[in-house]
Symmetry: none
């Protein structure tokens, strides 16, 4: 039917987290949906191979076995590809193993196991996730296109921490969360750049780092009554 359907720029389906009132995600044929998946897979590969900055849209299209024009039918630009890929990975992560409320009552070491093991596994299966978490090599600033992903993860950490540290001032909470996230990313990189037992050893090491960092913080908060 003539029904105009609102051009709806392209690609990105919607921010994660804003669950209500998703705008009808643009009528698309099944083939198109497949193409998008294909392109995002290709993008993941290329991002992993060359990093975000050096990745080229043509390379992504080539990797996906389509022409450059096709890519641009679904994504307005390189940035949008990264955003959409990040969103989808984030969704996938949340759906499969998200930080469940149950975990939040575990003791720290078990919490770390409960969170990190699947998260590491997820990153092993989706190495592009790590690439996107880092963003372009532009230092300092978090590039606009990665802000979603970054904030998404960061705020989840912050929430989790908040439940352990209800009395900590927000600024400090943010700092601890930021540091934790930062450390995690650093450790994850090491894990992913090793293989086999060494990889496991690094995973164990990361847990040590995080446990030792967070334990005093958490304990101190948990026992405000007795210990001097």
């Amino acid at each position: 039917m003539p029904e105009p359907t609102k051009p709806q720029p392209t690609g990105a389906t919607g921010k994660p987290g804003s669950s209500a009132a998703k705008p009808p995600p643009r009528r698309r044929q099944a083939r198109g949906e497949r193409r998008i998946a294909q392109l995002l897979d290709a993008a993941a590969n290329v991002f992993c191979a060359t990093g975000y900055t050096a990745a080229s849209t043509n390379a992504i299209a080539r990797e996906a076995g389509v022409s450059p024009g096709t890519l641009y039918q679904f994504f307005p630009n390189k940035e949008a590809i990264a955003v959409e890929l990040g969103d989808r990975l984030m969704d996938r992560w949340r759906e499969s193993h998200g930080l469940t409320a149950a975990n939040l009552h575990l003791p720290l070491d078990q919490l770390l196991d409960a969170v990190l093991d699947p998260l590491i596994a997820f990153n092993e299966e989706n190495p592009a996730f790590a690439v996107l978490m880092h963003g372009p090599d532009t230092p300092g600033r978090i590039a606009q296109e990665f802000a979603n992903l970054h904030m998404g993860l960061l705020s989840r950490i912050e929430e989790a921490l908040a439940s352990y540290l209800p009395d900590t001032p927000p600024a400090e909470l943010t700092r601890i969360a930021t540091m934790t996230f930062s450390i995690f990313k650093a450790g994850l990189d090491q894990i992913l750049s090793h293989q086999g037992t060494e990889r496991q050893a690094y995973a164990a090491e990361l847990k040590k780092v995080m446990f030792r960092y967070l334990e005093p913080i958490v304990c101190e908060a948990e026992l405000p009554t007795g210990t001097p």
Copy 2:
């Protein structure tokens, strides 16, 4: 392996002073040396502004106020600029505050203060150092051109650790050093991306992370006699 090897970096004017038989540095290189410094300064700025991958040699030349041709008179390619800049920063670091033998007998907390404070200060003054430590956003692999810098720092950490942990197997030592370095880089990024008191708070936080991570390792090693 870890042994840094200083790989005679650029193709340009072999650095005087590095090898045993110093040929009297020729006069006509004085200007050249100035040019090089100029170019490296410019490169540092551009790398900081845009990251390594996105930095263009033309932009570096422009920033240095010279023509592209001039740049290539001193460096065979973009990579060499990064390498040389990294080497020089590394030298500068070593010369000014390098991990002196004296420090190695300090207790851990003091050691961290002694090492991290000047290192952070150095990075504040030379933000390109952090950019180069990270290398391009290509994940996992350490790009060839940044291997020197990376290994240089890493092996110094490893040496230091070795003096605290003489009985630890080398593989583990490497792993701890790698992790430590990784954490440091991560923390440094946070420090550098904040300002004022918040920056200081992040620095303190980084020290906490590192102290808590390393303390048990070091303690355990230090007291092989008394513990049951």
Copy 3:
């Protein structure tokens, strides 16, 4: 030669009503006719907004709220859209206010009023008409796709002039008509690019130009007997 020939413009649905034997217009073309109108309206908008050369068929389809494929179901290419739009505008113009035979006996000033006022009004309502009269910015040559429109208008002017100047050689007649048309287009552009009273002032000015240009020509022809 000037004779317009109405070149059976698009490849699509031969316009009913043009040839002698009217085949009863098939029902299923009703929708098609609407689509075409829709597309031509959209094309008019896009041509006005960006000019012919820079207009894209995708933009036209989008503006019409249909898919590119649909557009090509009715028009074989971009050119055909312009041609058909031009033809329709021309038809519309002819049907509503065409140079009626009656006008041809008015004195020049009244003739100009009689012709120009509605023509200007028509162009105000259909600004795409002016765009199409000019064609692409390719200078000199009249692009193939705009020849119809151009010749259509030109020959009408020429006919009108011929009735005033029966003894003028055809070459000169063509020249005067061409010049007149050219001036008209130029003036029209000015009119359309102004607003309100200024627009009216330009319209008046255009009439002055044309009147003063044509008056001596016409007068001289009208009084072949007396004047030296």
Copy 4:
């Protein structure tokens, strides 16, 4: 010090008309200056052949026999090429036959001859001038990049008219000038799109149009006192 030398974007040397304090026009080698001329010649050809909108920078480079990169060493974009070409043609025009003060005291018919003949000749030799005067086929607005050229010519006409019509209100003056310019462009197009005697005939015709349009305006102004 390195003295940065101010990047000085590229290409365009400076606006015409601002004669004082020309910024030192960027050190350039002779070869470069030749290239620029070459490129502008090529651009003129391509603009004439295809019009501004459809002209491609690659086509210009090809026509000039250089690589696309070379073009961009001298011009930051297509627009700048048009601007510079326009400026140079304008300068060339002014230098050779500009409206000299002497002309301003001639009777109108002689003035028109004095101005139009060389101007037409100039346009015959530099057909790109006409293309640039028209600008892109975007209707109405005068595109930014052509404003200079347009205003340059328009204001010269306006000045000339002002000397004939000292008592006319400025708005009207502008209108008359605009109309005159518009007519001239229209006539010029016809002249240029014909050949030989026909071309001359069109030139004569244009003069008629302009003379007849302007004569009453000028006369009326010239004889406020004594008219019989």
